[in-house]
């Protein structure tokens, strides 16, 4: 999109609270964005420590580090914390920081609501992590919380349900705020089809969250009433049906995958054109593909349930619908590649992470197509092949996209350039160790190793050992990121307004670091 800019200079410094009041009572989108990002990284570390404990237990066959019950609690909490505590808040953090800057708005549409939706997160996190200390420990039902297991768990399960409620409310409020901001706060002249792709992907993501998150809230509410008020929604003996829980859960769960990856698509769609010094190839088809992915993703949920039992017609319908997602996704991959084609490429850290994202996302996408085929899925259901598949799509794809975005906008946020050498080390170590961790899991899954087990037969020992070594390397590599960010915040080479010579868009018309208040006089986009 060609956006000649006028009148977008920042307004003079105004009210800017300092100290603890700045963070507790802030209604400034930049401060709240920072809070979201810091919170999500803290949760990422907590979920990561759980992952490393899981991998330490799986380093060798037999039980060495934790007891099986605690192992199940770790796998459950690792999933819940990473999804709801780390990844979703991180994307909301990006949205808070970037969307008003990219559309020329002075702030989010509802700044106080914005503050509220962030401060819902810490109590939810305390509930979730604190459930480990409840009688009987945390829930060990898996992040999918399937009944009847989840109905039989101790009070840790209730804490998890309340945490999910609170996190869900926070996500929904945040999404309403984001969607309203995008729809109603754009600078004059910025039509929908002139919006940057990151804003487009977040608009679609916000709709998806508003549409599917309440379904999860409904499911866990029914779980709660089944546990304490003698309803029998999911109890077959009382006339209910546990399989219906799975349907509702995955009606939320599958779009959730795209909720976590669409904003990444947006980030990558900003980064690649900048470092290819070309316009994004096929902007309109990118927008259409984003919308198509959102619609189709709400109609494929039962591919997670092929082994539960369903008529062949149902299996075929969900199989074909699942395969269909590959088309708009393929359009995106093609467009990113075409953007790079004959571009004047340079490979700074954001671009490395964007290309790394492309590589791992295509790997995860291909195994996704493989798993959509019913007879294959039936063989691989609940094996390590699934673990490998979704970690390729979610961990590396979402995470690498977020790293690309962080390195891309960090100079704009802090006013300093990050340490490029550190960034490159972070990328290469993450890329190598990620693949050492998760690629062998494909072989483990194909050989039949089930997921969610603390012990395993001897024939799986070698690949598990490799995966554990990779996991510790991957985990430790993330400390480099923390160091690089802290170093950048504390100082460094001053960043110019337009940090990257290929960067286009309203945010690059502002000085670096971005003033506390921006675009109080709307810029005119022509």
């Amino acid at each position: 999109v060609d956006i000649p800019l006028r009148g977008s200079e920042a307004v003079p410094h105004e009210d800017h609270p300092t100290g603890i009041r700045r963070w507790l009572t802030s209604t400034n989108h930049k401060d709240i964005g920072t809070l979201y990002l810091c919170f999500s990284f803290a949760m990422f570390i907590v979920g990561g420590i759980m992952a490393l404990t899981i991998r330490a237990e799986l380093f060798q066959p037999g039980l060495q580090v934790v007891q099986p019950e605690f192992f199940n609690q770790l796998t459950t909490l690792h999933g819940l914390i990473m999804l709801f505590g780390a990844f979703m808040p991180a994307f909301v953090g990006f949205a808070n920081w970037q969307i008003p800057l990219m559309i020329g708005a002075p702030d989010m549409a509802f700044p106080r609501l914005n503050n509220f939706s962030f401060w819902l997160l810490p109590p939810a996190a305390i509930l979730l992590v604190g459930s480990l200390f409840a009688p009987g420990g945390a829930t060990g039902a898996g992040w999918t919380l399937y009944p009847p297991l989840s109905v039989q768990m101790g009070p840790g399960m209730d804490m998890a349900i309340f945490a999910i409620h609170i996190l869900g409310v926070s996500s929904i409020i945040g999404s309403i705020n984001i969607a309203t901001t995008i729809l109603n706060m754009r600078a004059p002249g910025m039509t929908l089809m002139k919006m940057p792709m990151f804003v487009w992907t977040w608009l679609v993501t916000a709709y998806m969250i508003i549409f599917v998150m309440p379904a999860l809230a409904g499911a866990v509410t029914m779980l709660l009433t089944d546990r304490h008020f003698d309803t029998h929604f999911f109890n077959a003996a009382g006339g209910g049906d546990p399989v219906l829980f799975q349907h509702i859960f995955w009606f939320f769960g599958h779009p959730e995958v795209y909720i976590l990856v669409l904003p990444t698509f947006g980030i990558v769609s900003q980064v690649i054109p900048t470092f290819a010094r070309k316009r994004l190839y096929g902007y309109r088809s990118m927008v259409a593909a984003t919308c198509a992915i959102a619609v189709i993703s709400c109609a494929v949920w039962a591919h997670h349930m092929f082994t539960v039992g369903m008529p062949v017609g149902g299996q075929l319908a969900f199989m074909y619908a699942s395969l269909l997602v590959a088309i708009p996704t393929g359009v995106k991959v093609f467009n990113w590649t075409a953007t790079m084609w004959e571009g004047s490429l340079s490979f700074e850290t954001p671009m490395l992470f964007a290309i790394g994202f492309l590589f791992v996302f295509v790997c995860g996408g291909i195994t996704g197509v493989i798993l959509a085929i019913v007879p294959v899925d039936v063989q691989l259901q609940d094996t390590y092949y699934i673990i490998a598949h979704f970690h390729y799509t979610m961990v590396a794809a979402s995470l690498f996209g977020m790293y690309a975005g962080t390195y891309y906008w960090l100079p704009k946020w802090t006013g300093h350039m990050y340490d490029e050498t550190l960034g490159r080390w972070h990328f290469w170590l993450s890329m190598i160790f990620f693949n050492i961790t998760f690629f062998p899991m494909h072989f483990l899954g194909l050989a039949g190793m089930p997921r969610r087990i603390p012990d395993y037969p001897l024939q799986f020992a070698d690949f598990n050992m490799i995966a554990t070594i990779g996991a510790f390397g991957f985990g430790l590599s993330q400390l480099l990121f923390l160091y690089a960010v802290v170093k950048c915040v504390r100082g460094g080479r001053p960043a110019s307004a337009r940090v990257w010579d290929g960067a286009e868009g309203l945010e690059w018309t502002l000085p670096s670091p971005v003033p506390h208040h921006t675009f109080q006089t709307p810029p005119v986009v022509t």
Binding site: T180, M213, A215, G218, F233, G239, G240, I248
Partner: protein, 43 residues
């Protein structure tokens, strides 16, 4: 000045309308999930 204030108020009102609409959609999905599930029971 008056015009600017009026425009801001109007924008604010539109924001509230959009937000309410989205909130109603979310509430409808939540309630619909539970209601539909109740119909699915076999007493």
């Amino acid at each position: 000045m008056k015009q600017a204030n009026a425009a801001q108020t109007s924008q604010r009102a539109t924001s509230v309308r959009i937000a309410l609409l989205l909130a109603v959609l979310a509430a409808a999905v939540f309630a619909g999930t539970i209601v539909l599930q109740s119909f699915g029971q076999h007493p």
